[in-house]
């Protein structure tokens, strides 16, 4: 690939917001509860369609479809509120309700680690899988290391390196320096400590 510094050929015009109003900076994307929303919306849709359809059947003087209404009414007529099944069903309903409420109220987990930027309207992030890959790549560039795998906790990156060298003196320190340099290049806002373990030797 070749380097190019030619500016984009976009017509020089002024966005309506410039130059006096400073818009808020971008934010890193967070979880948006899509899976939960799709599941709940689908169940709601099914229940609502079934209720509407059965109500229309009753209203038009037809039999309910696939439901024995009188049997259900008889069963509910014979079941008291303090029946164990009712208690369990009510508790289950409460648990699901609490879970959905918690999902709505609590902030969703962060998907990206924020990297430091000097420009306040620029926000940069990397997700944990890609950070692990970057650190693995830095370790694998060290001569003598044949494989590297990084585990990440909130504040520590632990990289297990494998070498096929018979003499591995200083290898751990060299790998640690390489990983620390890569981490400094990325510059996460929340500091991450680096640990390197020589996990084994692999014969060529």
């Amino acid at each position: 690939m070749t380097s190019s510094t030619a500016p984009p050929t976009v017509p020089t015009v002024t966005t309506s917001s410039s130059p006096t109003t400073a818009p808020r900076p971008s934010r890193l994307p967070r979880g948006r509860r899509t899976v939960s929303a799709v599941i709940v919306a689908t169940l709601l849709l099914i229940v609502a369609v079934v209720v509407a359809w059965q109500a229309i059947l009753v209203q038009t003087g037809r039999e309910l479809y696939g439901v024995n209404a009188s049997a259900i009414a008889d069963r509910l007529h014979l079941t008291p509120w303090n029946d164990t099944a009712v208690t369990i069903a009510a508790a289950a309903l409460m648990v699901v309700g609490l879970w959905l409420l918690a999902l709505a109220v609590l902030p969703s987990p962060r998907r990206y680690l924020q990297l430091r930027e000097a420009d306040p309207v620029l926000v940069t992030g990397i997700n944990r899988r890609n950070l692990r890959r970057a650190l693995d790549g830095a370790a694998q560039r060290v001569n003598g290391i044949s494989a590297a795998e990084t585990r990440l906790t909130k504040s520590t990156a632990t990289t297990s390196v494998t070498s096929s060298l018979s003499m591995t003196g200083g290898l751990t320190e060299t790998a640690q320096n390489a990983i620390t340099t890569r981490l400094q290049q990325l510059d996460p806002v929340e500091p991450i400590a680096v640990r390197v373990q020589l996990s084994g030797q692999r014969r060529r």
């Binding site: 690939m1 500016p7 015009v13 994307p29 007529h77 509120w81 699901v96 609490l98 001569n143």
Partner: protein, 200 residues
């Protein structure tokens, strides 16, 4: 998906959660005797409830059907908005129409494809960059740049970021004649090769 959809999901999940919590809480309290032993021993579907439903016919079924249809439409809309994206097709511009006193200045819109293609091509040309996705989000008069840049595992991320900020984003700001162009940069790293190296 847009931030509006994320907010809608929170509201929708919260509302359903409150309804289930209230219904389950009432049933559990009644089941455990919070409203008295007599209420707890009463049948779930009492004679009184049956006669009330019977007395409300036919309106109860019409109301139930209407409610069902309304909830179904809302649920369907909730599902469809999950497909909504933040992608912006055009940017609103204030244009200076030149020296002609009659023409003055006007407002026009510009397709975002020109900007995204130019920024994408520029970043793609940097050494160490494997792939770039560029899109414009936000409002037509407050555009935001969204960059997804995949770099090689052995590339220097600091150098690439410096070039993106100092060149590509600066050029985009210059082209739009704005000093504020909120930008979100998401870095990805391509999978490192597992080849065994030769050493010292």
């Amino acid at each position: 998906m847009s931030a509006r959809t994320a907010r809608g999901n929170r509201i929708g999940l919260g509302l359903i959660g409150v309804v289930l919590l209230a219904g389950g809480g009432y049933a559990l309290a009644r089941s455990l005797g919070a409203f008295g032993a007599e209420q707890a021993a009463a049948p779930v579907y009492s004679e009184r409830a049956a006669s009330w439903i019977h007395a409300q016919q036919p309106w109860i079924w019409i109301t139930l059907a209407a409610l069902g249809v309304i909830v179904a439409v809302l649920a369907l809309r909730w599902l469809l908005v999950q497909l909504r994206t933040e992608r912006l097709g055009r940017i609103a511009m204030d244009t200076d129409l030149g020296n002609d006193p009659d023409s003055g200045s006007g407002r026009t819109t510009l397709p975002t494809t020109a900007l995204t293609a130019a920024v994408g091509q520029e970043i793609d040309s940097y050494p160490g960059v494997r792939a770039v996705k560029v899109r414009v989000a936000g409002q037509p008069d407050h555009p935001e740049l969204r960059l997804e840049v995949t770099i090689e595992p052995d590339a220097d991320p600091a150098r690439i970021r410096t070039r993106i900020v100092g060149e590509a984003i600066t050029h985009a700001r210059t082209a739009l004649d704005t000093q504020f162009l909120p930008t979100q940069l998401l870095l990805s790293v391509s999978r490192p090769s597992r080849t065994v190296r030769t050493y010292i």
